[in-house]
Amino acid sequence: MLRPIVTIALREWRSMFLSPLAWTLIGVLFAIVSYMFVGAISRYHEQQFAYGSFGGGASQLPLTDMVVAPMFGNVAVLLLLVLPLITMRLLADEKRHGSWPALASSPITAGQIVLGKYGGLLLFLMMSVGLLSLPAWLLFGFGHPDGGQILSGLIGLLLVSATFGAIGLAASSATDNPMVAAITTFGMLLLLWIASWTGEAAGDRIEKILSYLSLINHYENFLKGVISSADLSYFLLCSAAGLLYARQRLVTERISA
C-alpha cells in the first residue's frame, strides 16, 4: 500500500533536482529573500535607534514581529508566484511526454499516484522552505528573537506551501498542458490569497465566508505565533480538497478520455 507511494515520491523528488528549474527557483528565491532580510534588518536598526532616542531606553523592539514575520509573509508571496511553475509538471508533463501509460498500466491506484506525486512535492517544499527560513535563525547570533514564534511562522509557511502544492497538483491533473496548469494554479492561489478583498462590499454573511476562505487571514495567525486548530484545519481541508480533486480527475479520465 505504502511502497508505491514512497517509490513515486522519491522518483519525483529526485527528478525535480535533476532539472535545472528547481535549482534555479531555489537560488533566485534565496537571493531575493536574503536581500529582503537585509533590508528588514537595517530598517529595524533605524527604528530601534529612533525608539531609543525617544525614551525607549534599553528595551528592544520586538525583533521577530518586525523582521521575521514580514519576511515569512514575503516568502509566501514569492512561493505563490513561483510554485505554479514547479507543480505544473507533476501530472501534466507525464501526459504530455507520454510517460503516463507506464504509470497508468502499473498495479497502483489513482490515489497512490496522487499521494506519491504530492509526497515528492512535499519533500521538495520542506527543503526549500527550510532553506529560505535560514536567515531567520541567523538572528540568534545578534539579538533575542522569539524562537517559538519563528517556529510557528515556519509551520505556517510549510502549511501554506503544502496547500499551494495540492492546488497546483489538482490543476496539473486537469490538463496535459503544463502552461495551462501553471496559469490556472496561479489564478486560484491569487484568488485564495485576496479572497477577503471584496468582503466589505458584499454584505455581512458573505464577508464572513470570504474572510474564512482568505488564506492570508489564517497565515497571519501563524506569523503572530498563534497556532489554532481552526487555522490548521483550514490548510488541511484545502490540501485535501486539492488531492481529492486530482484523484477524481485521474479516475474519471479512464472513462471520459
Binding site: 527528478s15 535533476l18 532539472s19 511526454h97 507520454g98 510517460s99 501509460p101 498500466s105 502499473s106 498495479p107
Partner: protein, 308 residues
Amino acid sequence: MSDLMIEITQLSRFYDRKKVLDQINLEVKRGEVMGFLGPNGAGKTTTLRILAGLLAPNEGSVRIAGIDIMEQPVAARTKIGFLPESPPLYDEMTVREYLVYLAQLRQVPSQQVNQAVDRAMDRCGLTAVANRLLRNLSKGYRQRCGIAQAIVHSPEVVILDEPTVGLDPIQIREIRGLIRELGGDHSVILSTHILPEVQMTCNRVALIHNGRIVLQDSLEGLERHARRERGYRICWEHPPDEALLRGIAGIAEVSGDGTVWSVIPLASADPIPELVRQSVAHGWGLRELTPVTQSLEEIFVRLATQEN
C-alpha cells in the same frame, strides 16, 4: 486455471457518442502471439488501451488471466505489461534507474528487482547502455527500453502497440526476433498495420475494421486460405498464344500484357510442371516464374472493404 489469458467479450467503447469499438470479442491463449491488424483508425489502439487499463470500456467485459479489469483493476494490472505507441520514458533517468523504478511499482519483490532489471536489459539488448540517460538514446534503443519496461515484471500478458514503427530495417528485425521469443512464456498481443510483421512474428491474427473484428484465425488457417487464391507471375522471351496457355490442364485464368503474365491455377490442380515443360519444348524462353505472395494482403483488403 483457464488457458485464456485475454478474454474480451462484447466490448464497446464510445468517443462522444461515436462508436469506436462495436461489440468486439477476442481471445488470446497462453503462449500465443496475436497479431492485431487493421487500418489506421480502426480501433486497434483503443482496444489495447482498454486492455492496459488506461481506458474504461463502455460496455462488455475484459478479463486478463481470468481477472475482470473493471472489478479488480489493480490485480488485473499486475498481469500485464504495456508498450504504448511511443515508449513511456522519463528522459532524465538512466535506463537502469527507469527499469528499477517500474519494477518496484509493479510489485517485483525488493530482493529480486536488480535481477529482474538485468534480465530485461539482457533480453532487450540494453546492457551496454544501462547507465546512459534515456534522453540521449537513439530511437531504436528507446523502443527497446519501452519493451523492457513492459516485460521487466514478467507479466503474463504483454501488450505492444505498433512496436516496430519508425525503426530501421535492422532494428525491426531485432525487435521481431524479440517478440517471437516473448511468445512461449508470455502471451503477446501486438497491433500493426504491416502484414509481413504478422507473418513473421504471430501465430494468430485478428483483423479489426471500423470497430469490428472481421476475422480471427490462426496464421496457418489464413495461409491455407491465401494459397487457394495464389497465382503466378510469369515472363517469357517469346510469349505464346494466350489460347495455348488456357489449353494447359489445371489453369483457371490467364491474363497478361505481352511481357508480364499472370496465371491463376485451379484450386485442386498444379499446372506449373506442365507449363514449364511446354515452355522448354516450344522454346518460349522462360525468364521468370514467381508465386504471387500478395494475396494475404489482398484478403485483408477485401475483408476490410467488404465491411463498408
